[in-house]
Amino acid sequence: MFRLDGKVALVTGASGGIGREIARALHAQGAVVVLSGTRQAVLEDVAASIGAEGGADRLHVCPADLSDAAAADALVACAEEKAGAPLAILVNNAGLTRDTLAIRMKDEDWNRVLDVDLAAPFRLCRAALKGMLRRRAGRIVNIASVVGVTGNAGQANYAAAKAGMIGMGKSLAQEAGSRGVTVNTVAPGFVQTAMTDVLPDAQKEKLVGSIPLGRMGQATDIAPAVVYLASDEAGWVTGATIHVNGGMAMV
């Protein structure tokens, strides 16, 4: 089950903790994986690390700065060119935070997060959908966040972008459904990554206290949900949000 043999998958933010693990998991299922991120050298390291276990020929890198609209527009074409086949799976995982309380939040903090975390995924969906609709096949998995549903003090920008991503995904799912293309969302809870390492220990302890399963998540907790949604077996699931959060928010 859940094999992805020969399918071309593009994973953005593949140098980050969760993205790297998603790439690894898709690759383990047989997919041809194109890694994207801002830093070429890091992407190549990630590709080498995943490829060390075999299947190195099924790994490619396409560096892109998603705050640049033209770069986002061109990324799907780059992935298809590197992989030599049409895109079957798009995973919009890239994201960044600029946390601060709203009264101190600058327009720049707001715009940058909305650009990279919401506008860029839209651009990538738009580019990917054109081919997917024509081919009558495709899987889009957007990585949102639990805070897109619950909100979080200090993250008005990030929560807005992630909530936007969920609404966007549901709309695209309705547009693409008649062509057998699915669009789903995975909403991770608090996962141990560089993005959450910066939180103060006291806040982390408090967070863990609010998680019924009693621990922060690992990237390996998230990736299998993406594999499922990317698979043929998930062909009757669209517009859904899978919450992977240790029970922190049961929505």
Binding site: K130, R134, R179
Partner: protein, 79 residues
């Protein structure tokens, strides 16, 4: 038949997978050729690409038949 008309017809046949004989000037994409709303958008995008024209949303909405498409593109190309 003009070159544009030929090309439009070919795109419609290819895209909607219908028999060429059905693609008459008066044929409506949705009512006669089995297109859905997404098909009509994709058709317009295919026309834009094939003829290097831009078809704005309000004009696209009025292109419902094969003849509509041919007329619009011919007008754009003549301009």
């Amino acid at each position: 038949m003009s070159e544009i008309a030929d090309k439009v017809k070919k795109i419609v046949v290819e895209h909607l997978g219908v028999d060429e004989s059905k693609v008459t000037p008066d044929a409506s994409f949705i009512d006669d050729l089995g297109a859905d709303s997404l098909d009509t958008v994709e058709l317009v995008m295919a026309f834009e690409e094939a003829f290097s024209v831009e078809i704005p949303e309000d004009a696209a909405e009025k292109i419902t038949t094969v003849k509509d498409a041919i007329d619009y593109i011919e007008k754009q190309k003549a301009a």
